[in-house]
Structure formats: structure tokens, C-alpha cells
Symmetry: C2
Subunit: 428 residues, 2 copies
Amino acid sequence: MDRSLIKDAKQNIDKSVNIMGRVMNARLLSNVSFLQVQDYTGTIQTVWEKPVEVKVGDAIEIIGTVRADERAKGGCEILGQEIKVLSTSIEELPIDLAKKDLNLQLTTLLDQRALSLRHPKVQAIFKLYDLLLKYYGQAMRVNSFTEIKTPKILGACSEGGANFFKIKYFDQSAYLAQSPQLYKQIMVGVFERVFEIGSTFRAEPHFTTRHVNEYISLDAEMGFINGFEDVATMLNKVLVEIFAGLKEEGAQFLAMYGEAGEILLPEKIPMVKLAEMKKIIKEKYDYAIPDTTDIDPEGERLAGRFAREEVNSDFIFLTHYPWSGRPFYTMPCADSPEETCGFDLIYRGVELATGGQRIHEYDKLIANMKKKGIKPDGMEHYLEVFKFAMPPHGGWGMGSERLIQQLLGLGSVKEAILFPRDVKRLCP
Amino acid sequence: MDRSLIKDAKQNIDKSVNIMGRVMNARLLSNVSFLQVQDYTGTIQTVWEKPVEVKVGDAIEIIGTVRADERAKGGCEILGQEIKVLSTSIEELPIDLAKKDLNLQLTTLLDQRALSLRHPKVQAIFKLYDLLLKYYGQAMRVNSFTEIKTPKILGACSEGGANFFKIKYFDQSAYLAQSPQLYKQIMVGVFERVFEIGSTFRAEPHFTTRHVNEYISLDAEMGFINGFEDVATMLNKVLVEIFAGLKEEGAQFLAMYGEAGEILLPEKIPMVKLAEMKKIIKEKYDYAIPDTTDIDPEGERLAGRFAREEVNSDFIFLTHYPWSGRPFYTMPCADSPEETCGFDLIYRGVELATGGQRIHEYDKLIANMKKKGIKPDGMEHYLEVFKFAMPPHGGWGMGSERLIQQLLGLGSVKEAILFPRDVKRLCP
């Protein structure tokens, strides 16, 4: 008998089906038992009017009859006839996967990752993550961006930066890419509009709830822009498409996170200059952002609060960050060169994306690097391309895991990564 | 005047349009000039009945009138009125991008990568690569696989292997992932069907036309299989969907590579046991594969020739590779334990994918590792999961760039990578 999929049960009312999957929950009573079974297409309740020998977590194969039941999720359940355990646990599960909430310490959750991921609420995080990847790609393609893959092993620390992981590369030294920045800019000269979904590595010794040392960045870069606003508008549009997809296809997973999963994303995300936002934060919330930083986490949190309270948006663009704090490739403002043509996108009080216009003229780029004291060593190939008619361009980098963290209100970004890496954690 | 896109020109016959893009070719005559202009949506011919000052490679903005012309590609061209150079080359282009074929040495092609990528025939490679990524994701989702992203920094050399790049990771040592193998298997216990598109790093000092040290692997893993044939069947199905997409959406790019771009992919790819194929190769082509290897490149080439000549297929599965040459997680055949339940997929005489069934029972896995002399150090988390009811499962890993290389008949896989990495090459 061929395998039936759980998602198709409804089309098989009163028919006999063969289901394979995992026992997610079991209530074994003396005269009747209930097993919740999950396969890769869904979950269904199975009812057994005879004793069954099975444990939560087992991989099983059953034969049963589908019957309509309005009380059941999906409108049907299966009356089980035969059950075969295909694979069972040879030790007791170290965590209780049948509980509604796992309620584990982050460390335990991650130490037991291979199993904690099997819990429905944890699965939901990564089902939404899957949809994020799907809809990011889809939205970029709708807007005629070409998908690219750029190297993660670099010959030199580019972007003038510290915080690179160093690799032994045959008889040379190499570094892990901190972002696809320089490559995606080069690719604007080829395809004008490009995007990348790629691994990114940061050797920063952070101990926060929103940093990790390896993550997946959602990048884009586009040419012939009239200013950074074109980039922000495109990002806005792409986010609207992504969240529409999450809402539609991910409804059941979002629902598991209640209010956290709600989406307040306007067609036009409010945009405020950083300097102005600092004033607002001082006046409205009586908080002074320290002079040592453009904006600190508390400032971002309050900017998010302002957006929510004043314009009913979970998103807000902060623009015109000071020149001193932005990378060398950032376009300074024409009328106020101490500020830059760029933005951070704040989502529920946390930086989700950074973007802006880049310098596209060779001489200006070299001058800006000098002014910042950055040596061109190792970036010659990147710089060279600006001698050959680069159009005005800009783009963004967005943290994929942070988007899911903020959407679901997860305590740490590590909960939104299958197998996160931090200063101490290299396994599983 | 708002920007018009080249792909929409046909809908604007006799109307005035504003086009922005790059000059791909220029014929400047005394009384009439022709500029080929490309934007991110296409290429169009523009005609100038007055002198224009512009160079090949310039980023320009033009205003002109679209007029129907049956001789023109796309059925129309633009009669130019105004032209503005937005960005120009400040040095002479080191390569002639207006030539029909670049005809460069591989080294030059790659040294000048930022510019050689702008050539239409090189662009075509990466337009097809973009489509490969698109259709791989789409085909996997159609078959209900969940997309995952697994870590590329590992705490230990897993898979018992050599050829790992070593990283300094804060005060520890770490390694770059050679494949997502162990993680994707763990994820079968979570979502049953998963796929990944991810960076892969191999510290092998190769100097061949088909190896690089960093590439993008197209991986998949699926549970509740009845044997490796289920995996091969799924891969076959996915390839049929991918190539249908490439053929339809990539026709203009495939056409630039003539016969090479043709596709001979049957609904059911032929499947031959390796031992049998060795006999065929000896008998038919009088070539003896050396005893030191399961199959060598010449053997693969001849297997490809056999498939082409005998069954009109560019693809062939070779199965039942010897136990000795396959990794420790490979399922040995039940009836012939010296062989394994797995396959290589040969595409035009080159290995494109490797796959098979894995061992899913803890005791068998440990026993197989012992037999191979592989220590469990650093793989404890992976091994642990097999104590908890893993279903029978299998999957594949497929080289994305090799697929494009073989499809287009490129001399080296490096031509199918934007910025390839080999033993010597770390930039651009």
C-alpha cells in the first residue's frame, strides 16, 4: 500500500491510508489511545481502540481509516488499525517534547538542539525561516534582481575592518567574509540589480541576545538610483511582499506566537533623520543617547517605541548617520558632508537592516578612504572597477535570523538559528 | 520623466522613453550611430542620426522614441534624441567587451573578472546560474522540502576527514564545513525533508578543470525512504523540473552556447551498477579503470559516452560503489555488504551529484565507524541523535557550478563561478 500524506487525509475520508511519520504526542489509556503523528506535510490525530505499544518520538508506519471529525484539527482523524514502529528511541528522551512549551534555559535548548528542534513551537520558527528565504528570493526576482553567490574566503581583510576570522589557506593566510559588500557592488556593474543569500562571519566577541558570529545575510544592491531613498523604497516593497507571504503561508506558525507574530508594516515605513530622532527620544522619553555612539541599543528601542506609539508601525527608517561612523564606501550627503546618504531599518526597536547609497566615482572613493585613513591593500580589484563607469548605486544588508527573532519576540537571536555559533559555542 | 525599462519598449512604440543603462557596443559613423544599451531587464539597439560622444562601457541616460523595426531583436529600436553620460571609464578598458567572443586565457578572464563578467556571453553563464538557484528552490518546495541553513564553522573535523580549512576561532580552533552532511541528517529527524543551498569548503590542493576550493552545494535529505532508489528518483524529478525551467526562462542564454546548451535528460535516468559499468567500459571502449580507484575521470567520461550513445541521455546513475571508498554514514547493501546503497550521478562524463541511503540505527553506525577506524571525537552530537528514532533516510549533494559548467561545455568550472577560489587564487 502506497504512502499517503497527512495533508491529503481530508481527501480520503472513509478510505484506508498508510501514514508514515513521528509520534509527537501519545495518550495511552486502557481502552482507547490517541497518537499525534507528524509527517513532512502536517500533523494528524490517530485514535486506537486497542492497546498500542509506542513511545513519543518513535518513527512509525500505520494503516488506518480516515474519518471526518469536526472537533479535530483539519476536520478529520484516523482510526488506527495496524501500527509498525520503524525506529524507536534506545534511551529516554532528555527533554519532554510532548509538553506544550519547552520552557528550557537557552543553554539547554541549544545543547539539546538536535532534539529540541523537534518540538512544534521550535519547528514553527524554522518553518517561518524557510518561508522568509522563499519570499525574499521571490520578491527580489519579481523586481528583476539576479541572484549571485560571492566568495566567503577572502585574500585580505577588506572593508578596512577588524573582526575577521583568519584561515590557514594552503601556504597563505585568508579571511572569512564579513559581508558580500565589495562583490555585490562590483556586480552592479554587471547586472545592475543583484541579491545574495549568504553566510556571513563576524569575529566580534559579543555576549548579547542579538549577536552571533555566523549568520545568513539577505543582501541586495541596485544601480541607477537617484538617492538612498530609492534603496529604502525597494527594501520597503520587498518587506511588504515577504510579510504578506509569511502571513498567508505561515499563519499557523505565527499563531503559535500570539501577539508577537502580528505584523505592523506600513506600505510606506516612516523615515526620520537620526539627529531628529535623538531629539525626539530626549524630549519624549527623557533619554540622552551617549555621545560616544551614533545610537545605542536603548536609543533603538525607544525609536521603535516611538514608531509603534506614534505611527502604528513596527518599522522605522533612521537616516543620515554621521560620516564618522559609516564605512568608507558610504556616500556622504551632498549638502551636509558630515552626514551620509544611508539608513538603518529598526524593527521593533532593533536594527534589522543597514543600507544606503555608495560612492561610485573612483576619485571620490579614494579621497574618502584617505580621509578615513584606510589603506587600499587587498582591495585593489574592488577599487579598479570604479574606473570603469559604475552607475550611482546602493543597497542593503539584512539579518535574516533577526527578522524572525523580532517577528516572534524570541529572547535571543540564537533561537532563530538552527545551530548557532557564539564565542563559546561551536557545537552542535 | 520616469525611467522606462528596456523589456517594456515594445509596449511603448512611437512613444518617448527615458532609458538608463550601459553601452554594450557602439558603431559611431559620420552621419548615423548605433549604440547597444543594456539595463537590468534587457538589451536594445538605439539609433542616433546625429553625432554622439560616448564610449563602450559608459553608464548613460537617454531620451528617445521607440519605433517598430522587424529586423531588430525584440521587434523595436529607439531613435535617440538626448544622451547624458552618467558615468564613464577614466582608463581604457583592458579587455574588448564589444567583441562577440572574449577568447581570453582563463587566467586573464579571472584576473579581469570585474570587467569580463560584463561580457554578454559571460553574463549568460550567471543568468543561467541564477535560474538554477531559482528552480532548485522551487522544485524542492514543490516536493515539500523545508529550506535550512546549517553552520559553516565547525568545532571539529567531522566526517572523519582530512581536507578541512582551519580557522582561528577566538581562543579555539575551528574548521570550515566540507558539506552540510551531518546537520542535514539531524534535520531529517525534525522536518523529514530538508534542502540547503550553501557554501562548501574543500582544502584539497587540486589543479583540475573541475575542482575549486569553495563552491555552492545543492543538498537535500529525506526520510522514510525504501532504499536509495527513492533518493535517486527524487533527484531525477528535481532535475527534470530545473532543466525545464532553464530551457524555458533561459532559452536566450542557452542559445549563446549552441549545441552545448542542449538538454538530454530523460524522465528516468538510466541506472547501472558500477561493477557492471566497469565491464562495459572494458569491453566497449577497451579501457581498464585502475584498481586503485572506484572509478577515475576517464571512466566517468566513458560512462557518460555510453549513456549518450546507447540511451540518448546526458545523465547516468552509477550505483553500488564499494564500501571501502564511501563515507562512514553510507548504508551498506543488505545482501552484499561490500557494496553500498548509493550512487553518483554522471552528467556528460563528470560526477555532478553523490547520494544514497544513510545508516539510521545507532549501533550499526557505531559499528561501521569502528570498522572504518573513524573516531567519534567531535561528532558526539551527531551520533547522539541516532539514539532517538531516526527514520530510514538518504539524500544527495550536487555541485551547482558543475551543473552549469557541463550544461554549457565550459572548459573549467571556474568559468561558472563569479569569483572562484583555487590553491593560488584568493582574489578578486
